[in-house]
Symmetry: C2
Subunit: 417 residues, 2 copies
């Protein structure tokens, strides 16, 4: 008897027919002998509607009230799924965040889970009852409802799986994690397995399958995570030989991946903006005068490039931020202008970040060299570079996105036959 957490997102519970489909997935797992907890999001569109109302009610709204309003979406879905399961003869009950409870800090709107008291839940699951858990929500120390921020239901599911020592299946509208975006590269392959570290880079670098925080939590707690599609037939193949996991992609420790590829995937992110300070004085302390104020204003800087000074006195400095932060970043730099000393300030959103990700890079040299060669062959200019142990990211002109991703996908032998 193994414990399983199943998570279904908004499109998977969009209406009563979809909820019945979810119930069939749950039924299959119950009949296979699993103790099941199901984490559900709000019906697609509901959260947006509720968020819109809070904004229309007042421009500056109290995050505690926002949380109380918005969490109603998951409350509705959890009750409806419990009713649907009962209607199919499966013992089930809904659990709201405050009922379990899922204890969080008091940062309303994007709270962090501090602990889940699963004793009651476990007892009910031991008795054969399916636990239907409203995702995305918890309770703060002051007894008020919190929400975990966008995509928070993934985090709810992984945190619950960690607390229950269960594996976690994330049902979504795609059937797994791909080597790259299949909308750009038709030869993209579905990965059977991917390591937590790689998935974390993929999620941070633009792949939208899983929320970064949930992958991080799964990695720390060693929760086996499976990404699969809720749109597959619920009665679809279940292969117990495959370590109990069905189709989809398994996110797991690298020790569980036998044949490790050097490169596992190519990610890209269009949410990049570039800021260049032209002819900054090239002297000690100038970087601190630029990045200090940005940090104080909670603006995350990603890539930084400083050119070699040509005249020994001034240099150009470029950094990247997200689209949303661009105009604020420009303002901050302008305000600190007299202290920094620069000739010109240029902002641009016409860039994309392309990343090559793979745990194999640790032991294989030449991955970066191949990347630069491929881009050079296609005549694509590299504007900035950052690297980590398992990824290389480059910033290029957005117009070359598809060309670069396709060329790299082929070069690293990721194309399907």
């Amino acid at each position: 008897m193994s414990r399983l957490v199943m998570k279904f997102g908004g499109t998977s519970v969009a209406d009563l027919e979809r909820i019945r489909n979810v119930a069939s997935h749950v039924q299959r797992e119950v009949e296979a002998g699993n103790q099941v907890a199901v984490v559900v999001s709000a019906m697609a569109g509901t959260t947006d509607q509720l968020v819109r109302w809070t904004r229309e009610a007042a421009a500056l709204h109290d995050a505690r009230e926002y949380d109380s309003v918005v969490s109603a979406g998951e409350q509705i879905t959890s009750g409806l799924l419990a009713i649907t399961l009962q209607g199919m003869g499966i013992a089930a009950r809904s659990w709201l965040g405050w009922q379990i409870p899922v204890r969080t800090d008091d940062v309303h709107g994007s709270a962090r889970i501090e602990g889940i008291d699963v004793e009651d839940l476990k007892r009910r699951m031991d008795d054969g009852q399916v636990a239907v858990v409203a995702g995305f929500q918890g309770i703060a120390p002051d007894n008020r409802i919190t929400t975990l921020g966008r995509g928070g239901s993934d985090t709810s599911a992984v945190a619950l799986a960690a607390a229950l020592a269960a594996r976690c299946d994330i049902y979504t509208d795609v059937d797994g994690v791909y080597t790259t975006d299949p909308r750009i590269v038709t030869k993209a392959r579905k990965l059977a397995r991917i390591s937590y570290e790689e998935m974390l880079e993929m999620a941070s670098l633009g792949a939208k399958v899983l929320q970064t925080r949930s992958v991080e939590m799964a990695m720390i707690n060693r929760v086996p995570l499976q990404v699969r599609s809720s749109f597959d037939p619920p009665g679809g193949p279940f292969d117990p030989q495959d370590h109990g996991f069905g189709p989809g992609t398994l996110v797991c420790g690298e020790e569980d991946i036998v044949e490790q590829q050097v490169v596992s995937g190519i990610a890209y992110s269009k949410d990049e903006a570039k800021v260049t300070l032209v002819r900054v004085e090239d002297k000690p302390g100038v970087a601190a005068r630029i990045f200090g104020p940005l940090s104080e204003n909670a603006i995350n800087v990603d890539m930084i490039v400083q050119n070699v000074s040509e005249d020994g006195e001034t240099t150009d400095l470029t950094f990247t931020v997200t689209h949303d932060d661009l105009s604020r970043a420009m303002d901050v730099i302008r305000d600190a202008g007299s202290e920094i000393g620069y000739q010109d300030l240029v902002g641009s959103t016409d860039v994309v970040k392309v990343s090559v990700i793979g745990i194999g890079m640790r032991s294989h040299a030449g991955v970066a060299a191949k990347m630069f060669q491929v881009l050079a062959d296609k005549g694509i200019n590299i504007q900035a570079i950052t690297t980590s142990e398992i990824k290389i990211s480059i910033l290029i002109d957005a117009a070359y996105t598809e060309l670069a991703v396709r060329a790299l996908h082929t070069a690293y032998d990721l194309d399907s036959e």
Copy 2:
């Protein structure tokens, strides 16, 4: 500084514009120096939608899940009103049933309030914060959400007013309690005051302004109840000379009504169905054999008429139930048929109950005699009669409803000039 509970129903919070209107009503009372708690229903249509979903999810749904789903409606409104008030510069926070808590029994779907722990709430109100309370909901001993049944927000408001020793204003889509239904009698008058006892009869007998249970609770706890319209301009006249009550109808103890009319109102109910057993054996024990099984099947019988036996052996027996119970009542009688012994069983929904209500009846004779005379003058046949200390109800052919109500309204001097 006096405490005030204001209650707004579904049509009064139907959208954000109506919610802003509610906030203006609250603002007026805050500025007049009141400590305010506002009880809100779900936005009009929301509860129906949620109820429909629970029914579609499974024909026989778990009442605990139903409560969890349906209570989300009031949760949304309470948060939105709190945000709106804050946006107007008024300190406010929302309270859900389980947060206060409003403790109820475990009869999910139509729970009874057992107590409200108002200490936290009071402290916040003393600090000048408006309490926005989600109506219609509470929490059962097992930590699950309960709802109070249809119209339960009225009960929430009165129970809260009782616990806070506050007066209670019920805002609705009519501007008070009328001597009768103004849609039938254009000369119907709005009553400035009405006693709890009379209001209770009016509510039970078809007037839909207030929920019966809430009036009962107000009467027991001596909560001054004012019925007024949320569609009046929020900045409308507030007359401190009028015992602190604005326009509308005050429901209060009869000692607070100086000029008591003999008859205060005429109510009618179309939700009546008549069952006649033809030629029942006229012998001891037959009534028990009829009404015993009905009671065992939880069918409420209202009026009962047994004719004088003509032949000394058989008689006709007629009783009334609600529309909804008619077919079940007929089935129950048929099942017990051999034990009862009757010749024929006839059911009909073609009847209406018309009631004359007034505390003055206690001390004035002749009210019933006048009623019978008026109906006789109009050629209306009376099929059944019941009386209490302060009301007389008669059952007549539904086709005569308007004629009877208008004639009685005039006869008891209730017409406005």
